[in-house]
């Protein structure tokens, strides 16, 4: 029975059993600003989230910034060649230090310096130096210079954010004590991606779109292809949906699509004769294409409860694309536009308040997994 908002207020938590009526996330979890506030802590500050691609910062001092909810980090290559992340916040009085710097246009710095009072940090986050005015008390008549003990570099460094990686893909975790390691959260996805030569491919294109719907609306749309027949008619011609497969794991799910006409082996980064679209909880996807020698990633980045940015990155053997690769990216963009329209249309319906709790079909088990993970996070 569909649960309308007809005054009965009959909604329930997402049932673990997909055959139950209450197998979907209640609609208010997509539209309520308080839920987005909760998600910033219970989802985006608790699970591993994608930061960016380490190939984009190959040299010591290369860096980019990444904002997740209200938190911003500087992701930088340190003197030892390791990628580290620090809150973009000075230890002095909390100023934001470096300007927003996208992964696609990274900066380079010898040290991290706050422009406010020039506190300067090494690339490992240790405090390197402060201006002389912090080392003497010339302006304070109550103190002598000898009273100033100076600042311990180790104790007054930047606040580091935990990082880990899968191949060249760098992830962040803001929790003091994360409930899962990245390996635990990624499970088989880690093994699968690490078996592929992802590091050998170069970043070629980034497209960023703003969409007027909740981030989970798009995440749900990505997780199933029942809508494809009706809505992606150009794309669907080359796909055999009858032979597609949905694989559900703990924190990721995979949509495997078989192409009607097999493609040349050299046109494929992976050996499987199919496309594989991985959704990795909470908001990252890895797209292994069946018809192009390259791969893509999506970051489904919430702006607030009613908007998100889709950050679509494409990786190919070379950053200068061939005509076929350009055409491939155009087709991908077209699919995104079609999906945006579907998601915004769905969201308009959700926002009307008519629906209390939708219901998922028995083959929407990937989506059920997504809704269950959201429910588990809210309950944690």
């Amino acid at each position: 029975m569909t649960r309308w908002n007809d005054g009965a207020e009959e909604v329930s938590a997402v049932s673990p059993d997909i055959t139950d009526e209450t197998n979907a996330l209640p609609a208010r979890y997509f539209t309520d600003p308080d839920v987005w506030e909760m998600e910033k802590e219970k989802i985006f500050s608790r699970y591993w989230v994608y930061a960016g691609h380490e190939n984009c910062i190959p040299e010591t001092g290369d860096y980019f910034t990444r904002t997740v909810g209200d938190k911003q980090v500087v992701v930088a290559r340190d003197e030892d060649g390791d990628v580290r992340a620090f809150y973009n916040v000075c230890a002095h009085r909390g100023s934001k230090m470096v300007e927003d710097t996208p992964m696609t246009d990274p900066g380079n710095m010898g040290r991290i310096q706050c422009p406010y009072h020039l506190w300067t940090y090494d690339l490992d986050g240790d405090l390197r130096s402060t201006p002389r005015s912090f080392e003497e008390a010339s302006l304070n008549p109550d103190l002598d210079d000898a009273d100033v003990s100076g600042l311990d570099p180790d104790e007054n460094g930047l606040m580091e954010v935990r990082t880990d990686d899968i191949g060249p893909l760098v992830f962040l975790n803001f929790a003091d004590d994360p409930p899962l390691t990245l390996a635990e959260q990624a499970g088989k996805l880690k093994t699968r991606l690490e078996s592929l030569p992802l590091s050998e491919y170069e970043h070629a294109r980034r497209y960023v779109s703003e969409v007027e719907c909740n981030w989970k609306t798009f995440g749900g749309n990505y997780s199933e292809c029942d809508h494809c027949q009706a809505n992606h008619q150009d794309w669907i011609r080359g796909i055999q949906l009858d032979e597609s497969e949905l694989e559900v794991n703990d924190y990721h799910w995979v949509l495997h699509y078989t192409h009607e006409e097999d493609v040349e082996d050299e046109l494929r980064i992976h050996d499987e004769h199919e496309a594989q679209f991985h959704y990795f909880w909470p908001n990252f996807t890895v797209n292994m294409y069946g018809t192009a020698d390259g791969y893509g990633t999506y970051i489904v980045d919430p702006i607030d409860e009613g908007r998100f940015q889709l950050i679509a990155d494409y990786y190919f053997a070379e950053s200068d694309l061939s005509e076929d690769e350009e055409e491939f990216v155009r087709t991908s963009r077209q699919l995104q536009e079609e999906d945006f329209e579907l998601c915004e249309r769905q969201y308009e319906g959700l926002r009307s308040g008519a629906l209390g709790q939708g219901q998922l079909g028995p083959n929407e088990h990937t989506l059920h997994r997504f809704h269950r993970l959201a429910q588990e996070a809210y309950d944690a």
Partner: protein, 113 residues
Amino acid sequence: MARNDSPVASCPDCEERRTAEDPNEVVRFYRRHHAVTGHDVVWERPPSLPDLPPNADVEDAVAALGDPDAALGTVAAAASEWGWTVGETLDAVHDRRLTGALWEPRDDHVAVV
């Protein structure tokens, strides 16, 4: 729901467009878009505004708008008449604020000192 004649801004690099009822929505769009792409944003269809002197400074644009505190998006729309991008206008406003010629009476609004 935005009307067909609502102001529009877009990114020339990746063709992302934003239809705005509120000019400052374009400023917020620019900041988000610039933060993840490094791209600038231009007004494709600015809102109707008073005529501005040609080749003036951003300070003159703020003054010509006649508001006690002008929305940054409106200032950027006005400056687009000179061919300025949203990013260029915000940079110019930033520079003028640091010299004390402009101040910010409330968030994302500026006034001539």
